[in-house]
Symmetry: C2
Subunit: 365 residues, 2 copies
């Protein structure tokens, strides 16, 4: 950023905004956006907003909508960015951002359509921005949605040097009769399935960082304390913590499509801040509990490692972290095995966590 | 935020995140969201994402879509937040955020449907957050779109105390045959109409703040230098600068609907960072210029006041600020008078800025 001399007329560049750097960055990230585009995206130079054709009458897509419902949400990656900054590794945080959003969309039965990202930062560096957006595009490609655009806001007075924030917005669509809304289809006897997480995902990082700092942990060191962890084991601590959030969109969308008439999935939850007790409960009616068996899955060692070094109570761990389960489904008992098999064939690790019983809308662990 | 003692087990709250404050804030903002809801919004407790029914087969809405195109964009308010923070006035910055987004959507001919906001901040204060979200809801109500949800991210290590960032995300819909895409309908002889801005809007605030600081201007003082300004005149400088961005959604949507067959509007532009030369050009084909007559509208005095105190070159002013024109339309000559009349009846101040001539895709001022 150019320094302004007191005797010069003032310019926008001298007030701290480098428009050229922004343009160069836009150039570099354009091809990352394009690789997420399917035939629905209507590309155009200079547009003020992105456009995506729903295609109802074109039958380019095998199924058609009669009463489409748009599903939309926004989420950021929280202080996981601070870890990315500390490690100087910015190419996967965008995947977290996509995951945090599309994993919410699919809970309502929606198919992700489009995504937009917002990056607030101190100063635009084209190479840095490309790294972040590459991660966002990777996530979009994996979730099957178009990265329709984004905004980069250079705000040197809000963000400290090297600091940034990353937020995302996702839109999906679901046919009204297939939307998963409310909790009234959940009933005692239904089975609760859990899908393995890939690690900490993008919640609880204020606590993670406090533990790391207070216990004096070295982010570049490989610790034995989580050697048996299926994802983190054998990797440096920082890299293990930064492992991007698993994206459940394609397996879940494909599952719901395959049961287009029977609808055996009666509720779902994305396990984020609040953990299993604070998210699975959102899928429960007032008169049902989810009775989970803690021995039905193995909590990955990385969580135990953090718990030990932070001397965190076990209940607190379950209220902050996903503890190895990133997504849950509530399924009619007769279909539980079939649903689990399909998800395993899609590459998921599936646990039968427990079942729905009469109760008060709570998760019993 | 509770201080953590070294000998205590660690908790999430002690690491800097107050979940209860977040819940209280959510309670306070819920009714602001609800007042933006029409019959398309499917409200539900505990949902992971907002839902909006497009209603094609229900005919609740007078017109129907055959080949709907989703239009989406994201934008923030830039460093205008810093001015809001300095003045301790947070109830209109949300309107800016909505305006920056919906004014982009309508350029493609879209009707705004839904909005989501993202607030990143140091610490959640329910009263503060309510003020911000109230402004967002006001903007949504004025734009005719539903505030379907939002995210508040408490990040004490990214945002300094009292600092925050505000980004928004908007989705609209347009029937394919009525979408304004590309620039090929623009031709020599077309008339360029401009709609008056309400002031600085939400661009160029890094320069505004640099001018204020270098010239030692007092934000609480009423200056004679902009006494003749139709919006700013007679008001303290800070308040005049903070005047929210005008939302052009309803008049433009209504205009486009009223010409459902003739389509006399061949291009539009939302005048943001880059000013008239950097935005109206996006609506021009490669072989046309927009020849504007600077005497066709009066630049509001607030711009002259800033220019003088910052000793900014006139060309630079036009490249950073809207200079009194917040939105432009390119209209078939035969319809220019009728379009201008309709917009005036919707409450807009309309200027005939100039016309389209043969050229190189540039804006001549």
């Amino acid at each position: 950023m150019a320094k302004q001399r007191d005797d010069e007329p003032m310019t926008y560049a001298a007030s701290g905004v480098d428009i050229d750097a922004g343009d160069r960055a836009a150039e570099r990230i354009r091809h990352h956006l394009k690789r997420t585009y399917g035939p629905r995206v209507m590309g155009q130079e200079g547009a003020f907003a992105g456009m995506l054709r729903l295609d109802y009458n074109e039958k380019l897509f095998s199924r058609n909508y009669k009463d489409p419902v748009l599903v939309a949400c926004t989420d950021g990656v929280g202080t996981k960015v601070k870890l990315a900054i500390r490690l100087g590794k910015h190419d996967t945080i965008g995947r977290d951002c996509v995951a945090m959003n599309v994993n919410d969309l699919i809970v309502q039965g929606a198919e992700p359509l489009l995504f937009l990202d917002y990056v607030g930062l101190h100063e635009v560096t084209p190479a840095f921005l490309e790294r972040v957006v590459r991660g966002v595009a990777d996530g979009c490609a994996e979730a099957g949605c178009a990265l329709l655009g984004g905004e980069t806001a250079e705000m040197p007075d809000v963000y400290a040097e090297d600091d940034y924030d990353l937020a995302g917005f996702a839109v999906g669509v679901v046919e009204l009769s297939r939307a998963i809304k409310g909790t009234d289809r959940v009933a005692p006897g239904d089975v609760v399935l859990g899908l393995a997480s890939s690690g900490i995902h993008a919640n609880g990082f204020s606590l993670v960082r406090a533990i790391v700092d207070r216990a004096g942990l070295d982010l570049r060191r490989v610790y034995d304390g989580y050697a048996g962890d299926p994802v983190a084991g054998g990797r440096p601590l920082g890299e293990a913590l930064l492992e991007p959030t698993r994206i459940y969109a394609k397996p879940i969308v494909s599952l719901l499509r395959s049961y287009s008439r029977k609808r055996p999935v009666v509720g779902m939850a994305h396990i984020t801040g609040g953990g299993l007790p604070g998210n699975l409960n959102r899928a429960l009616p007032e008169d049902c509990d989810a009775a989970l068996d803690r021995s039905s899955w193995r909590v990955p060692d990385l969580f135990g490692f953090l718990q030990e070094h932070g001397r965190v109570e076990t209940e607190e761990m379950f209220r902050v972290f996903n503890m190895g389960v990133g997504y849950t489904l509530i399924v009619r008992p007769h279909f539980a095995e079939g649903v689990a098999d399909r998800l395993r064939r899609s590459g998921e690790t599936v646990y039968e966590l427990g079942e729905i019983v009469r109760g008060k809308g709570e998760v019993r662990l």
